[in-house]
Subunit: 492 residues, 4 copies
């Protein structure tokens, strides 16, 4: 029980999470469909999973540590979750034995009845709000920022649940895509800037919400549209749908890194195929940073689409020079520093016969700490590569994210510590280049980045934070972008 | 998530529990000592156990389903609970997978800091208070009546934690012995009537509290005295002790059934050896209800002291005519009806060679549903007993307990359904007799029961409930005893 | 995999085991009945349990670590064991993770079909035989001495299974009560001296075998008789029974310690009630070794019958001065040295109010290492006893058992290290006395011990071993008793 | 206990397994290195894993159900396996609760000392040999064909272990690559035809054996050479190496399907890069079976190299039209029929934005039952593909394998049931074509298949079995190829 600093995590790496959410109303097998949908979103969070369902009378909940398949593949697990409405959550990172407390959906018995909530994002004034709520007698069950929303709803003076919910959201700053359930139905909403994604689909009479369109595909639903930035969609138990705009019209600023890495390539985001955008980034990269080489080799698997784009643009053959084992998770999303550095070899093996004696271009989606990149370059050299050129399908990652993405502290980001020449030396590449920020914007279909009013949240590349960051020492108005120069204050 | 009836339990048998609590402040191995103390109180609750400790900075907690030895015997388990202050709880009856939520000590982060609470007893207006708290925005984590106290403390307007705690207790009715921990130290208290027991001990500089004196013996502590009815004892981290009397002077009415059955025979309760009291009850029983027989046979193990008393008073030899297997728990405390009836034979076996052809007097501590008694009489007859006389070391149990004891609904109590002659026929005994209520009072050292102001809570025998029972349909003032005639309303 | 010394156990304490066996043929719920029967024999072995059944076509087997109730109480466990014939085994002591290999019944597919065997006792030339079998190409699955019998059967040249089985037993020396199953039926037998017990019962058309009569009682079977020393009883699937005497007529020498401690008091052994024999030992003890005292106090629970006998003979009142917790196993049978010494206090608590200021006689069944006795005497003194006299219901235990009883090495037996005066000093008793060997024989109904041809195996008291002990360095003919003076050679 | 048919498996699908083996002698962390090596071979068997080590004195063993990472990633697991020699095994398919008996390495205490064996392949006269061994008194522990070898060694009359081992192998027919451990060192060998692979490597002074070269890469060892067909390599504890040829010179016939599918693309097999061979197959396929299409799309992941070859040869762009989830195992290797058909959608999702309106060529490595192919074609059509052409990088799979590969019964192989036109219709492709058998041989570097003396075992394509198949009804001499026309007799 961490009494003083409820949101803090021991090793500072786990506070901010990336999550996936899914909800369905009006389906006979709501919980089974939710499990399938969450499975399709498994790449967004692999450490814990929860599903809550409602059968018209009661709410049922089941949570577990690990993957969806480990916790929700059995008929028995699904049978514990009856009803035609269900919502679920996959989560990156919980700690220790008491971790189940933090697994979402969170649930509470309010005076108005049960209330369940699944959240993707991060509330950047949660600590501030929590301190005030506890002062007034609120008792928190979890160390999750999401619970703040529940207590704000519970203590709001407005008469209807919807009013209370909007009242709560008005106090909250940061990034959130939410799926909530009440005895009256489902509520889905996105924060005013629409930082984290959320889409709506239809499957027969059922309404479905999901973090990404791939989850709709997998459950067999048709995409309707994205939930808009600042939109709140209410679906009644009878299936009737109402859209609200509690914050008025707001300019959207969705996370651009979803296109670079987070989302699955078979998702469609902001009207564009993620796969095509990644190929386009690779093409931009080839135009901006050509290389004189024999082979284009992707760092598997996330580098593959950009590598295909690079190869098609440059005419250099695309080949699998690194073979990835199927029996491990992907690099970026492993929790501890040790695990991140250790097992590269166990996960990626050089295709020696192919690489030996060749000049190669390695394509990766991003560089965070640089330690994996170094190991991969070394592996290629040990396998006999004559030259190793490194090309990165995103600009240098220089800043931490406070909107629900697990990034290391700034001091551990390679690009925050050195310039490109030094980075090239660090990872031992013969050359290193990144796509430009404007090149990235071109790949997503913009002419260029608008510095006055950027079309995306690209704070991790630029440091332009689009909201206030109260818990992190910032009190500036949310309208003008925030530039944080220093390592963020330890959340307490 | 049972949203409508949080305290209700599916089979109606598990709501009201008997528990044991233990706390220590000032000991180097506070958690290890607490585990040992709880082990000595294991007979008071066998389904779940929890320990919370405080190391001067943070609170640590560990809970488990099952016995103390299963959960707290490993060095690793104890190492998770550092600090010189700890408190724990054994509990009879939790349900299902989410049961850990209800395992005590309960903990909350209040504005004043951490607050842990372990409770033996039952709050008889918990539902009433909870409804009001939820209306005001409180969010409950558990379905335990104890959590009401935490929320009352959290929302009290008084400035100090002690004031808030007393403010909370003033709203509460029913039975409670409590051990609480705050960053300032430990608080132990008993309800104004002192219905459930609580003793204080010393071990070097450490202060110890426990439900029964036997726990002091086992950890090597010396008994100081009982916490008095209506007393609140505050122990600061430096060991300084203050006694408070927030309810003024109150006449005490401790549970007389602790002497009959609940407490261990090697405990000292109200200044008397439980073993000696039980022998004295057996002697009263022999005086009031002699039997012409060859052998006095205890129903093991709880009937043994009374049987020794009966044998010494009557001069009939004491013999072990029923052999109890070591590999099962005691009869009374098994949760489901099925288990209670089924396994008598597996648990108790007739000592045929001894019993065959003899006239025997069976001595048991009480009769609840009568089904076990019937099976034991039948077993004696099958083993060849010529006559079977049944003597019971308590008056007929006619009424449910609402103060933290798991009793069946009235309609299932044998003595509520028939008179003694019919009961004798039901259990197939040649004769049946109970000690009188005045005989019982004599055994505990009173001249007789004072009907104006009974010295003990004996509601299970007499129906005289000493407090209001708001959740159970009663609104009478607490001062005059309550007589509930009907089956208690289903708690919702 | 301990390749060189298959029977050796790391701490030398676990090689020799005490077990319980049960078998039934002709019952609809053979496996369920076996589970119940084994539960009644749980005191004979608490570390592992197995049941094998046969449904006319195939054998089914299930094994587990721990108690019968932990492994065989579920309907699912029983459903895995179909058929009308079943046999099972409870076992004291297996080691480590691979321990399940040693859990009985052992099973093998022989050329003649399946063969299952459950064994109580110890083969004293198992190492010798095993060495020879391995030399000829046999591959052992377990480190159990019992497996030797299976390999001897498998490699015997005789035509019928019965002949092969007898052929195998002729090569074997030591103690064995066996229940075997083949596709033709069940075989039960005892070694020529009948060292370990085995009884036969009937329940309707079903035939039942068990280590003790109490198991017949619990399953509702009637006792028929004991399997005789050197007798082999064959029961065909149709229920027809044949008795064989493969070793001719042999003088029996059953273990006398079964009367002192191993068997349950409600069993009948050699025609005598174990309870009555223990009371008679207590009476002998009182006659031989009176004490001037106020109270007779049993060391619970095994000392109770002897204490009742001592109290009745001496006229000193019997009282429970030590209260035993229900939540631990009995002292003697815990595996590691540490566990044996440590938790006395947690298991037995002084009834202070009773003992304070009194002169007491403690009655225990035996003294092995003396460490527990010392702790109990100390506990009585700490509780205020004025004088503590210790009386033991068996002669001094001076010698190790090689017939299936877990005894420490001789050097750890208190009585092998010092005389009675020194022992009294060691355990800090005011006086100490043991029943004489002739007193013990009188209690079991003999006039005295026949030194020429003792009626019982009493080697643990006298050192007169009734068989050869090949693996332990002895090559003397089995007919004249063996006197081993030295610590037995480490079995390898 | 399945007494009559020890090798049979209930659903007939699990008898014949594909496995991976790894061994090392002379490494300080032999067990840890073995775990890492087995992890690199995880694709060869995912259901169970075991490692046995030897520390110069004793053998240690640990087995588990599931992946290597689940069982051998903890320091504790490795610490249980001390010593500088270790060998391990991953296995596809064990059954039920008792499955651990079948997990390899198998171990036995022979007269000569401990003997551990890990086996990849299948003994095609194991049933025949077992029947004889049991008749002579052998007792089998497992239902594995491998145990036959141990018993043959144990009962051989030859003086040295090596002689006994060769004596045993002479009686055995079928496919085997073996790694054995004795107290003297390690023995690795391949059957006379070298059907299953085995390579030897060096890491400093340590000698390493593994099923595939990728395992050498991952542990950091250098490849020395393949163990030759019919070769037996003996490595003494001091590291000295001897090669034996107990069967004289034999023509080799390694499994060609290793190139098509089993081996990892980053392995080198028979001197050729598996990746390059697969690309070459794709090129052959493009030459033999062109298609008029817009995109070449691999069925992930095993179809990728052939698709790259096809794309490079044909000039049609290579694109990822199917996105494979990382959170499931690969199709071929899931045990039950249900699992194979069910979850296609959950595992592979169409990249709609790419595929819609296009004419596509799908490239897969093989077609077994065809049900997955059908689902993939349907998925492409649902995603809007205009034409779907299917090209397969191996000839039609018409025959079962009896050499350690899990294939369905012939009657379930699509190519055994219909011609190519019917297959195309079945999978609903616009066109379907397979590479020719000679095209396949060209891709592995041969001019063509020698029908007189085929250079590879290609029985699954041709029905030419290179050995006798005694247990499957065949008694023909091993020298001339066996042609089995009928469904193989159920092994009993």
């Amino acid at each position: 029980m961490i009494t003083t600093n409820p949101f803090e995590d021991r090793d500072g790496d786990k506070l901010r999470e990336e999550c996936g959410i899914f909800g369905v109303l009006g389906a006979r097998d709501a919980a089974a469909m939710t499990a399938l949908g969450l499975h399709a979103l498994q790449h967004r969070g692999q450490e814990a999973v929860g599903i809550t369902s409602f059968d018209g009378q009661e709410f049922y909940s089941r949570r577990g540590i690990g993957h969806v398949a480990q916790n929700f593949s059995s008929g028995q697990a699904i049978a514990e979750l009856p009803g035609m409405m269900a919502a679920g959550h996959v989560r990156y990172s919980t700690t220790g034995g008491s971790g189940l407390r933090n697994v979402q959906p969170l649930f509470a018995d309010l005076a108005s009845g049960g209330f369940a909530i699944a959240h993707n994002g991060n509330i950047s004034n949660a600590m501030f709000l929590k301190r005030d709520l506890v002062q007034k007698g609120a008792i928190f069950q979890s160390t999750s920022d999401t619970e703040v929303i529940i207590h704000l709803v519970a203590t709001s003076r407005y008469p209807t649940l919807l009013d209370r919910f909007v009242d709560a959201l008005r106090l909250v700053e940061g990034a959130y895509s939410l799926i909530c359930m009440t005895p009256e139905g489902m509520i889905a909403c996105r924060d005013p800037l629409g930082i984290r994604p959320l889409v709506m689909g239809k499957l027969g009479d059922a309404v479905v919400f999901a973090s990404e369109s791939v989850a709709l595909d997998v459950v067999g639903a048709d995409m309707v549209r994205e939930v808009e930035a600042g939109e709140l969609i209410q679906v009644a138990l009878d299936g009737s749908i109402q859209s609200h705009r509690p914050f008025g019209e707001t300019p959207q600023r969705p996370c651009i890194f979803e296109h670079v890495y987070f989302s699955r390539p078979d998702s469609v985001l902001g009207g564009r195929s993620v796969y095509e955008v990644r190929k386009a980034i690779g093409m931009q990269l080839a135009l901006e940073n050509p290389a004189d080489a024999d082979l284009v080799i992707p760092v598997p698997d996330s580098g593959v689409p950009a590598a295909l784009g690079y190869a098609q643009q440059s005419g250099i053959p695309f080949e699998l020079g690194i073979i990835r084992s199927h029996y491990v998770g992907r690099t970026f999303i492993q929790p501890s520093d040790g695990a991140r550095n250790a097992d590269v070899k166990r996960k990626h093996n050089a295709n020696r016969a192919l690489v030996a004696g060749k000049r190669i271009v390695l394509i990766d989606d991003s560089i965070v700490r640089g330690t994996t990149s170094l190991k991969i370059v070394q592996m290629m050299r040990e396998a006999g590569a004559r030259e190793v050129h490194f090309r990165v399908a995103s600009p240098p990652t220089e800043h931490s994210c406070f909107y629900g993405v697990d990034t290391p502290e700034r001091s551990k980001l390679l690009a925050a510590r050195m310039d490109i020449a030094a980075m090239a030396e660090f990872i031992q590449a013969d050359s290193l280049a990144f796509v430009s920020i404007d090149g990235l914007y071109r790949a997503v279909g913009e002419a260029q980045r608008s510095s006055a009013c950027p079309q995306y949240c690209d704070a991790c590349f630029t440091g332009d934070y689009p909201t206030r960051l109260t818990d992190f020492g910032d009190r500036s108005p949310g309208c003008s972008p925030v530039k944080l120069k220093t390592k963020p204050a330890k959340v307490a």
